[in-house]
């Protein structure tokens, strides 16, 4: 226990550091950033818990009186386990199988098992947060709609303590498999990206169909209850333990919950030292002399930025997801428009304009989500000296970041716009709105991202995921993107719809975006360049 506490402290601190901005008492900017994050988290927390509470209340009201109370708690258990696995799988992989500080910790007079359990304990703390986000509103809503006995209440508390354990066992297993696959493959970045996308798509699919599932659950409760009883009997017993206060059922659930955790941690514990110290790099690539193609300094910097972007799956996912969606949604708008409208929970009849306009608006929405450049300064980290010591103007270095952003996000946007233009055949203004405005917004976001990142740089990261996912610049750029869409939207809805057509308004917004880009470019050349030059120390 003596050595566990400091190791746990270090691993938990490093885990938290990847998720939250660092607070420095002496830095007022850091204080503002932390407040901004706290407000955002509070907003997200209230939204999620509020939505859950409504959902759980309707379930508790219908399942309790129908005699399916156990199904309610079985579902809560399933939700907790699913959320813990989805929320922590990649973190489990990073912490247990790809941690960079393993050798440093193992060099201390500490047993390898202590390092392993400190890491697992850190992950479990986060799992308990996920568990409470689901279980607390679920329990409150059940008590509000029904009642719970003393034994049931005790079993509920114990179940909440146990639920993250099977999730951790499954996460360890999947992360272990992923680690074995990733470490042996060249180009594993693409595979990582595909796994990320798979999880994201599954999550999005489940969330967008949640209401449908609840309706089905209420209308076909008996059938689903039977399926649960047979297919997920530990959760069935969890339900019985809480609603009936059945001790035998609780014992069955507890054994089933502990088994995967105990088995996986025992297996991992026996091999942890080997995992932590074996460098299973990809096969060595033999060097063959080839022609070295020359290009100009500016092109070289753009190519460098592109290679950097495509080398980090989390960067591709966070920065370029909007671009990917541009093509996907364009294709869907042409072939399965109903899916797109279902995603946005609306219907074509509810909108007062036609398909080309919807397409232009959708493309603008995804252009506003392009955040490649928002992390492009921070991501340089401790390699900043290279660009700063080379004979290239600072403005050219910054422009390369905007150009790379525009290429990554602009090309898919253009493809999406062309698909929609060919399919819907808009008029001249509609065509301009469809092509010019989303592209102009991509460029504006490119400039805005660099400008914002120069003001909120984070160069002291350990893992590149930090500036890409948790950097303040990314968050502010996201808000800037939302403002660039919402402000003209509001103006049109409340003021300008009387005097101009929606397509013309979208086109006009595109012209404004071009103007903003020019202003930002001027800012970047002067003040932006000075800010970048000041980062060298």
């Amino acid at each position: 226990m003596g050595s566990f506490r400091p190791v746990f402290y270090v691993t938990f601190r490093s885990l938290i550091a990847t998720m939250f901005p660092r607070y420095r008492r002496s830095d007022p900017q850091s204080k503002r950033r932390v407040i901004l994050y706290a407000l955002l988290f509070a907003y997200v927390f209230i939204t999620i818990v509020g939505g859950e509470a409504a959902l759980f209340y309707s379930l508790a009201k219908s399942l309790g009186p129908a005699g399916y109370g156990w199904l309610y708690f079985a579902l809560v258990g399933a939700l907790v386990i699913a959320l813990c696995i989805v929320g922590e799988l990649f973190l489990t992989h990073a912490q247990l199988f790809a941690a960079k500080d393993n050798e440093q910790l193992l060099s201390l007079p500490v047993r390898p098992g202590v390092v392993l359990f400190a890491r697992i304990a850190s992950l479990l703390v986060l799992d308990y947060i996920f568990t409470l986000i689901v279980a607390a509103p679920a329990a409150v809503m059940w008590i509000a709609a029904n009642s719970i006995g003393a034994a049931g209440a005790v079993f509920l508390v114990l179940a909440v303590i146990m639920l993250p354990l099977p999730a951790m066992g499954v996460s360890i297993l999947i992360a272990w498999i992923l680690s074995a696959v990733f470490s042996r493959l060249r180009g594993s970045n693409i595979l990582k990206l595909l796994v990320y996308l798979l999880f994201f798509a599954a999550y999005f699919y489940v969330v967008s169909n949640l209401n449908e599932y609840i309706r089905t659950l209420i209308s076909r409760g008996a059938e689903i209850a039977e399926a649960f009883r047979r297919g997920a009997f530990p959760l069935y017993h969890l339900g019985l333990a809480v609603t009936e206060g059945d001790a035998v059922s609780f014992f069955i659930f507890a054994v089933c919950a502990l088994a995967p955790f105990v088995i996986m941690t025992a297996l991992l514990s026996s091999r942890f030292l080997k995992i932590a110290t074996t460098n299973r790099g990809a096969r060595k690539v033999a060097y063959r002399q080839k022609r070295l193609k020359a290009s100009g300094a500016r092109t070289a910097f753009v190519k460098k930025e592109l290679r950097l972007f495509f080398s980090i799956p989390a960067y591709i996912l966070n920065g370029g997801l909007g671009a990917l969606f541009s093509i996907v949604v364009a294709v869907l708008l042409v072939v399965r428009r109903d899916i797109v409208f279902q995603m946005f929970q609306t219907s074509p009849d509810a909108l007062p304009f036609g398909a080309p306009t919807v397409a232009a608006l959708m493309l603008c929405l995804f252009s506003a989500l392009s955040l490649v450049s928002a992390a492009s300064v921070s991501i340089e980290g401790n390699t900043l000296w290279i660009a700063r010591s080379l004979p290239v103007s600072t403005y050219d270095i910054l422009l390369a970041k905007v150009a790379s952003h525009s290429l990554v996000c602009g090309v898919p946007t253009l493809i999406g716009a062309i698909i929609c233009a060919v399919a819907f055949g808009p008029g001249i203004i509609g065509l301009l709105a469809l092509i010019i405005t989303p592209l102009a917004l991509v460029v504006t976001m490119g400039f805005a991202g660099v400008v914002i990142n120069l003001r909120h740089p984070r160069l002291d990261w350990v893992n590149p995921v930090q500036p890409v996912k948790q950097g303040a610049a990314v968050l502010i750029s996201m808000l800037a993107g939302a403002a660039l869409i919402l402000v003209p939207g509001m103006l049109y809805v409340f003021l300008l719809h009387r005097i101009m057509d929606v397509d013309f308004m979208i086109f006009l917004t595109g012209v404004v975006y071009i103007g903003i880009s020019i202003l930002l470019a001027m800012h970047l050349k002067d003040k932006g360049a000075r800010l970048y030059e000041g980062l060298g120390g």
């Binding site: 070289a300 190519k303 390699t383 010591s389 030059e533």
Partner: protein, 237 residues
């Protein structure tokens, strides 16, 4: 080749470099020695245009670092104490990137890259991603990238750290050859024996102030550089 005039650089209230002046001519190797935190790296970063400074001037081949930093950077090569390179590139792609930035022709770059990669025994690893390189390999790659544009001034911060004995020997040879061809070298080191054998000039810095600067003979006289260094430290205590 390199002229530093009254350089002063502060971090907040603390002066990291205080009124430092020195000059290095073509063909000279100048060692820069001093304790940890004396101001060596700050001086070097100012010379390379990485750090901005409040007072003084730095000239590289007659170009002012303040007024024409790009012209200065074209003339010099810099290797930091910790070679953090673009880990997402392979060694050869990194070198090609540097060659692109300096506008070196295809034939010339291929010849120079392979000459120096062979010299430092890195050729077979050039296709590997830099993330797979050891510290020493990164140091070698940084050295090759510094040499491929035939710089007139080479600035190195602790260049021998992490190098194996062979690479270290070859680096010393290359430094001497480049100086014989008219380049100048300014490097910081804690290894006083190396500085003593290799350098024509020595600059000693303490708490940001240059406490001695001159030819090796002027600084050490009949003593070893190590003894001279400790004497200087004591005198300026």
């Amino acid at each position: 080749m390199l002229r530093i005039e009254h350089l002063t650089k502060s971090y907040g209230a603390k002066k990291a470099v205080d009124d430092l002046s020195l000059q290095i001519n073509p063909g000279e190797i100048c060692g820069f020695i001093g304790h940890n935190g004396a101001g060596k790296t700050t001086t070097i970063k100012c010379v390379c245009g990485i750090l901005q400074f409040e007072e003084g001037e730095i000239y590289v081949s007659g170009h002012s670092v303040k007024k024409d930093p790009i012209a200065c950077k074209r003339e010099l090569a810099y290797i930091p104490d910790n070679p953090d390179l673009y880990e997402f590139l392979s060694g050869i792609k990194y070198l090609n990137f540097i060659a692109d930035v300096f506008g070196i022709g295809e034939k010339e770059r291929a010849e120079r890259i392979h000459r120096y990669a062979d010299l430092f025994e890195l050729t077979s690893d050039l296709a590997q991603p830099i993330s797979a390189y050891s510290h020493g390999m990164k140091q070698k790659l940084a050295l090759i990238s510094a040499l491929i544009h035939n710089p007139k001034l080479i600035i190195l911060d602790e260049p021998f750290v992490g190098l194996d004995p062979t690479a270290s020997f070859k680096l010393k040879q290359t430094m001497r050859e480049m100086c014989n061809e008219g380049a100048a070298i300014f490097f910081s080191t804690h290894v006083l024996e190396v500085a003593e054998k290799l350098c024509d000039k020595v600059a000693v810095i303490k708490r940001g102030r240059l406490i001695a600067f001159g030819t090796m003979e002027e600084i050490k006289g009949d003593e070893s550089l190590e003894s001279a260094f400790f004497e200087l430290e004591e005198q300026n205590g």
